[in-house]
Symmetry: C2
Subunit: 178 residues, 2 copies
Amino acid sequence: MSEALRLEEAVAILERTPAAVGALLEGAPETFVRATEGEGTWSPYDVVGHLAYGERADWLERARHILSGDPRPFTPFDRTAMFRESEGKTLGELLATFAELRARNLTELLELNLGAGDLVRTGRHPDFGEVTLGQLLAAWVVHDLDHVAQIARTMAKVYAEAVGPWSAYLSILRDRQK
Amino acid sequence: MSEALRLEEAVAILERTPAAVGALLEGAPETFVRATEGEGTWSPYDVVGHLAYGERADWLERARHILSGDPRPFTPFDRTAMFRESEGKTLGELLATFAELRARNLTELLELNLGAGDLVRTGRHPDFGEVTLGQLLAAWVVHDLDHVAQIARTMAKVYAEAVGPWSAYLSILRDRQK
């Protein structure tokens, strides 16, 4: 049931993600934290690093880019930067970084005092061209939820065989990273 | 990467679910809590009711059934009981019930002092026949994670159109309830 973006609602979802991801993963068994869905897929640990890096280099920076009126495309975002950036860091450190940067970014977002007119301002995405600030903020929310679902799916697959015949009823075991 | 079930790991995941679901939903905008994926699909509110009802009528009860040696099939579980059981209850009430029953059930599960020999004991599922206690416990874990992913997916779809061209990169918007 698709809805228009309302800034205060988007912020209300964005501010929940660190706690939701932390509740799933903080102190969870390594078997689940480091599981992947197979070669070339990400573990929950990798996903948290990706979310934390996105707070430094992706969403809010692009919002500022749009508001600055800069006509150049956004700097492409490195989706796999966390394989380098997370090196040597514990899951707890990455979760803390994500939570801290997210809180700071949402404070800064609210300080921009965006009005309805700002949400239709446009910038240039390196892949698909013209996008609005409202679309960027909606994508930030959906991106969070996509990764929450990915973490749950990856953890579920640890027991893909252990569930035996129940797999018929547990469709998540057949979903894949796309 | 599929692994064998270890009881203490299964419990470690099961005990996180109420906090994870609560972090996603408690105090979240109604637009997201009551959203569905379309006709015949469940809202996050419905899913929480389903999880709470499962603590009363499904998983631990079936574990006890197996351990009792009763050769009769398990009582079929009513997957849509929450449409009746949740009536008049707030999301906060359902979350609290889920958290309370889950904590009590895990305490009782641990008090059973299950050994490796118990995990291969069998019972009869009404649909697919012989199942082991270990399979039941693994299915309990995966069932939780399946519904966490479902909640995230349903919330994401609220902004299915608001994301504009970003939908190309947000595959969760194309996943469906199966």
